[in-house]
C-alpha cells in the first residue's frame, strides 16, 4: 500500500501551486481542453522516491526524474506527482512483463509539470500518464525498426493507450517510444474533492 500523503494542489503554497496549475484547463494543439490534475502524491525526498515501489518493476523515481527545464521550486522537495501515475505504472508493468526486460524511462519522460519548458500544449506527461521509453534492456530505441517493433507490442497489449508513431515531426518520435493513457486523473480512496485546505486526507 502506498503510504505517500495525498495533497490537494489547490491548497498548496502559491509558489508551487501556480506552477502545477491544478484544475486549470490546458489546451491541446487541436484546440481540445483538458483539466489538469488536482490531487498529487507528496514526495518528501529523493530517498522516498527511490523507496516507493509502484509495481514490482517500477519505482516512483523513474516517473518523476526531470532536469533544469522544470522550474526550480518543482525540483525541490517536497515534490508532487499526480495520483494517476499509479495507472501509468500499472500499464508499464504489463508492458514490462511482456517484453521481459528492463524498461527504461527517460529523464523528463515521466511526469513533468505544465510549466516545464518541454511540456507542449496538452501533453499527457502533465497528467503523469505518459512515459518516454528510451531503451529496453540494453537496446536503445532510436530506429524506426526498434520503435515500431515495441510500439506494436504496446498497441496489442494496451489497446486503450496512445502510442506515437515513428517520425520526425510533431506528434511523432524518433528516439524513444512514447505511450500514454490520455487525460486520466485519479483521486485515491479517502480523498474529498470538496477539501480546500491542508492535507487532503480526511
Amino acid at each position: 500500500m502506498l503510504t505517500l500523503p495525498v495533497v490537494d494542489a489547490l491548497a498548496l503554497d502559491g509558489s508551487v501551486s501556480r506552477l502545477l496549475k491544478p484544475d486549470a484547463l490546458m489546451q491541446t494543439r487541436n484546440g481540445d481542453s483538458h483539466r489538469l490534475p488536482r490531487f498529487f502524491y507528496q514526495v518528501d525526498s529523493w530517498h522516498d522516491a527511490l523507496e516507493t515501489q509502484l509495481t514490482p518493476h517500477f519505482g516512483l523515481w523513474e516517473l518523476m526524474d526531470v532536469d533544469l527545464h522544470e522550474a526550480a521550486p518543482l525540483r525541490l522537495f517536497p515534490r508532487y506527482v499526480p495520483c494517476a501515475v499509479t495507472a501509468l505504472a500499472a500499464a508499464l508493468e504489463l508492458f514490462r512483463l511482456e517484453v521481459g526486460s528492463t524498461v527504461r524511462i527517460a529523464a523528463n519522460g515521466g511526469y513533468r509539470s505544465p510549466t516545464h519548458r518541454g511540456s507542449r500544449s496538452g501533453s499527457p506527461h502533465c497528467w503523469g500518464t505518459a512515459a518516454n521509453i528510451y531503451a529496453i534492456g540494453g537496446e536503445p530505441l532510436d530506429t524506426e525498426e526498434q520503435i515500431g517493433r515495441y510500439a506494436a507490442v504496446a498497441r496489442r497489449l494496451l489497446p486503450f493507450a496512445w502510442v506515437r508513431p515513428y517520425g520526425h515531426d510533431l506528434g511523432e518520435a524518433d528516439d524513444h517510444l512514447h505511450l500514454d493513457l490520455g487525460y486520466l486523473t485519479s483521486i485515491p480512496n479517502g480523498i474529498s474533492e470538496h477539501h480546500h485546505g491542508g492535507p487532503a486526507h480526511e
Binding site: D67, A106, A107, P140, D175
Partner: protein
C-alpha cells in the same frame, strides 16, 4: 634584447618554412605573453575551420549563462542525442563511433550535471556534451557572450557533427588571434567572476589529449609547465590552443592552427615544432623584460 630579437626572427623564419612544408595547407599562429607583452602572429586574422577548438567558445557561453543565473554547474540536464541541424532544422545525432568520449553516450536517457558535461566537452572533447550545452545555451547567446567580451575572430554557427551544414560550408570558424582573445578573456576574467575564470582554466588544465603545445616544449620545461588547452582535429585540420603556465611568471597564450591534406602526423609535428619555437621566443622576451 638582442637574443630576444634573434629568437623572434627565428620564429618568423622557421614558421614560414613549416608553413611551406604543409604544401596546399596553411599555418596560423598567434601568441601573447603576459610577462613581456610580446605579441606575434602569422596569419593571425586568417579564418580556419574551428574543429573542436570551438568548444572553448561553448565553454565561455556556458559560464556566461551561469553568470546570468540561468542555471548552475550543479544543474542537471537530460542527455538526449537528438539535435536540429543548423541548415534545415532536420534532426541529426552525434555518431558515438566518431565521438572521442563514451561516458556521455552511456548517460543517454539520464541526466548529467552541467559541470560534468563541460568537463567531458573539454577534457575528452565530447561532441555530444558540446551539442547539449550549445543547444541549451543557444548559438545567438554564445555569440553575444563573445561579443560582450570583445572577442572577434570566433564565429560560432552551429553544434558539431552537423553533416548537412558541413556539406554546405556552414561551419564554425576561428582565427589565431580570435582564439588568443578568447583565452585571454577567460584568463582575465573579462565579465566573469574570479570563480568562473578559475573553473574554466581548471577544466582546460585537465585536457587528456596531448595536442602539440605540450609535446613541443623543451623536456625540462614540459616537466614543470601546466597547460590549459584545447585541441581540435578533423580530417584536414589539427589545432591546439591554450594558456601555458610556467613557474615564477605569468602565462603566455598560444594558438596554433594547421590545415593541410597531409597526414595527421605531419600536422601534429608542425604544432609541436611551432610550440617549441614560440617557447624560445617567449622565454627570451621574458628575460629581456
Amino acid at each position: 634584447m638582442r637574443r630576444a630579437e634573434h629568437l623572434q626572427a627565428t620564429l618568423a623564419s622557421r614558421a614560414g618554412e613549416i608553413a611551406a612544408g604543409l604544401g596546399d595547407g596553411a599555418l596560423g599562429i598567434s601568441v601573447f605573453d603576459y610577462l613581456s607583452g610580446f605579441a606575434w602572429a602569422l596569419n593571425g586574422d586568417r579564418w580556419f575551420h574551428a574543429a573542436s577548438t570551438i568548444k572553448i567558445a561553448i565553454l565561455v557561453g556556458l559560464f556566461d549563462a551561469i553568470e546570468r543565473e540561468r542555471f548552475t554547474l550543479d544543474s542537471r540536464l537530460h542527455v538526449r542525442n537528438r539535435f536540429l541541424g543548423a541548415l534545415d532544422g532536420q534532426p541529426f545525432r552525434v555518431d558515438a563511433g566518431r565521438d572521442a568520449d563514451d561516458d556521455v553516450h552511456a548517460a543517454i536517457g539520464k541526466t548529467m550535471r552541467m559541470g560534468e558535461l563541460a568537463r567531458h566537452m573539454i577534457v575528452r572533447s565530447s561532441n555530444l556534451a558540446a551539442n547539449l550545452l550549445l543547444d541549451l545555451v543557444g548559438v545567438e547567446e554564445t555569440r553575444a557572450a563573445l561579443a560582450a567580451r570583445g572577442v572577434d575572430g570566433v564565429d560560432v554557427r552551429r553544434g558539431v557533427e552537423d553533416e548537412r551544414a558541413f556539406a554546405t560550408g556552414l561551419n564554425n570558424h576561428v582565427t589565431p588571434n580570435g582564439v588568443v582573445a578568447l583565452l585571454r578573456a577567460i584568463r582575465d576574467g573579462r565579465a566573469f567572476s574570479a570563480a568562473s575564470s578559475t573553473a574554466m582554466i581548471d577544466i582546460l588544465m585537465d585536457q587528456e589529449f596531448a595536442g602539440g603545445i605540450v609535446p613541443g616544449l623543451p623536456d625540462a620545461i614540459r616537466a614543470v609547465a601546466r597547460v590549459a588547452h584545447k585541441t581540435g582535429d578533423i580530417s584536414t585540420v589539427s589545432h591546439d590552443a591554450g594558456l601555458v603556465f610556467l613557474p615564477g611568471r605569468p602565462p603566455y597564450v598560444i594558438a596554433i592552427l594547421v590545415t593541410s591534406s597531409a597526414d595527421a602526423s605531419t600536422r601534429t609535428g608542425a604544432l609541436a615544432a611551432v610550440s617549441g619555437l614560440v617557447y624560445d621566443a617567449v622565454a627570451a622576451a621574458g628575460e629581456a623584460a
